[in-house]
Symmetry: C2
Subunit: 192 residues, 2 copies
C-alpha cells in the first residue's frame, strides 16, 4: 500500500554526517532536510522531533557502521591482543579515509555526541553513552581473554580496560581536535 521511499534512510544518513561534523546544537532540521533532499513536511512524517531522529540515527550508525567494523576486528578466532591491534589499525585507516574524503578528521561520532552535556536532550545523550558502553564491552572481553591466555599480567581487568579505553578514546578525540592522526599512531604499542 502507498508508495515506497528511502527518505527515512537518507535523513538518518544526513543527520549522522552533519551531527558528527558540527555537533547536535549546531545542526538544524532544515540543514538535515536539505542534505537529505527531503522537505520539512516529510521529515515530520518520519520522525516526531529532531531528538527522535538523532536517537534513531545513533542506533543506525551503530548497527550499520560501528558494529561491523568492531566485530571484524574482535572476531572470536583472533588472538586477544591481535584483536586490539587490528581494531586500532582499522580506526587509523578509517579516520585517514574520512579526512581524505571529507576534509577533516572526525573521531568517534558517539563520543562527540555524548560529551555535549546539558543543552542536549537527556535521552539523546543516553543513546550515545549506550553506544560507547557497547563498544567498551569488546575491550573488556579482549583484555579478559588476554589475561586468561597468560598474554598479559594484570590483577584488575576492569582497571586495565579503564586505562586502555581512556587512552583509545582520548587519542581519537585529540586527533579530531587537532585534525591530525598523530595521536592515533602506535596506540597499540602504547597500550602494552
Amino acid at each position: 500500500m502507498g508508495r515506497i521511499s528511502d527518505a527515512r534512510e537518507r535523513l538518518l544518513k544526513a543527520a549522522n554526517e552533519l551531527t558528527w561534523k558540527q555537533g547536535y546544537n549546531a545542526v538544524t532540521v532544515d540543514a538535515i532536510c536539505d542534505a537529505a533532499g527531503v522537505k520539512k513536511g516529510s521529515f515530520y512524517h518520519y520522525f516526531e522531533s529532531k531528538a527522535e531522529l538523532t536517537k534513531a540515527a545513533i542506533e543506525a550508525w551503530w548497527q550499520e557502521r560501528s558494529r561491523p567494523i568492531i566485530e571484524s576486528s574482535f572476531a572470536p578466532g583472533v588472538p586477544p591482543l591481535e584483536r586490539l591491534k587490528r581494531y586500532f589499525e582499522g580506526i587509523y585507516e578509517s579516520q585517514m579515509k574520512i579526512k581524505r574524503e571529507g576534509g577533516t578528521l572526525l573521531g568517534c561520532a558517539f563520543f562527540r555526541l555524548a560529551i555535549e552535556g546539558e543543552g542536549v536532550e537527556p535521552d539523546v545523550r543516553e543513546a550515545a553513552r549506550h553506544a560507547l558502553s557497547r563498544k567498551r564491552k569488546y575491550f573488556v572481553q579482549a583484555i579478559e581473554d588476554a589475561k586468561q591466555a597468560g598474554l598479559i599480567r594484570v590483577d584488575d581487568v576492569e582497571a586495565a580496560t579503564q586505562a586502555v579505553y581512556s587512552l583509545f578514546e582520548g587519542a581519537l578525540a585529540r586527533a579530531r581536535i587537532q585534525d591530525n592522526p598523530e595521536p592515533l599512531k602506535g596506540i597499540y604499542e602504547q597500550v602494552l
Copy 2:
C-alpha cells in the same frame, strides 16, 4: 572618567560556566546576560560578538583557573613524576568538588570546547586548542625531566607524552560523559 563596573568580569565568568556545562551552541547570549545580571545592550558594549566573548573567556579561564592549578602541581622544585601524580590527584579532587557543588562532573572546559568541530567559529576553536597545547607543554617537560633523571626508560619522549596526555584527557572526558569520577581513579598508576 565615567563610572566603573565589573560587568565585563561577570560576563566572562557566566560565559565560562554556561559554555562548560552546555556547550557553545546551546548557550545563548540572553542566557549569559541573565546569569551575569547584565542587559543585552551592555553585553555589546563590552564584546562585539558571542565569539569574541568566548575567546576572551577562554583566555581568562586559563589565566585565572587552569594555569595556577597546573603550576602549583608542576612546580620546578617538585620531582618530575611527583608533578604528574600531584596534578592527577588535584584534578580528581577538583572534579569531585565541581560535581558536589554543581550537580554534574564537567571535565576539561577547553577539551569540551575544542571538540565541538564545525559549527563553532574557527577562532574560538583555535583559542581552546591553544589552551590545550599550553597544558600539554607541562606534560612534555615533566616526562623529559623524568627521563633525564633516569626515573623512566623511554626512547621517544614525544610519543610517551602523546600516550600520557591522551590517557589523561580521555579519562577526564569519559568522567564527564559518565558523570562519574571512576575513569580518573588511579591514572597515575596506569601511566606507569
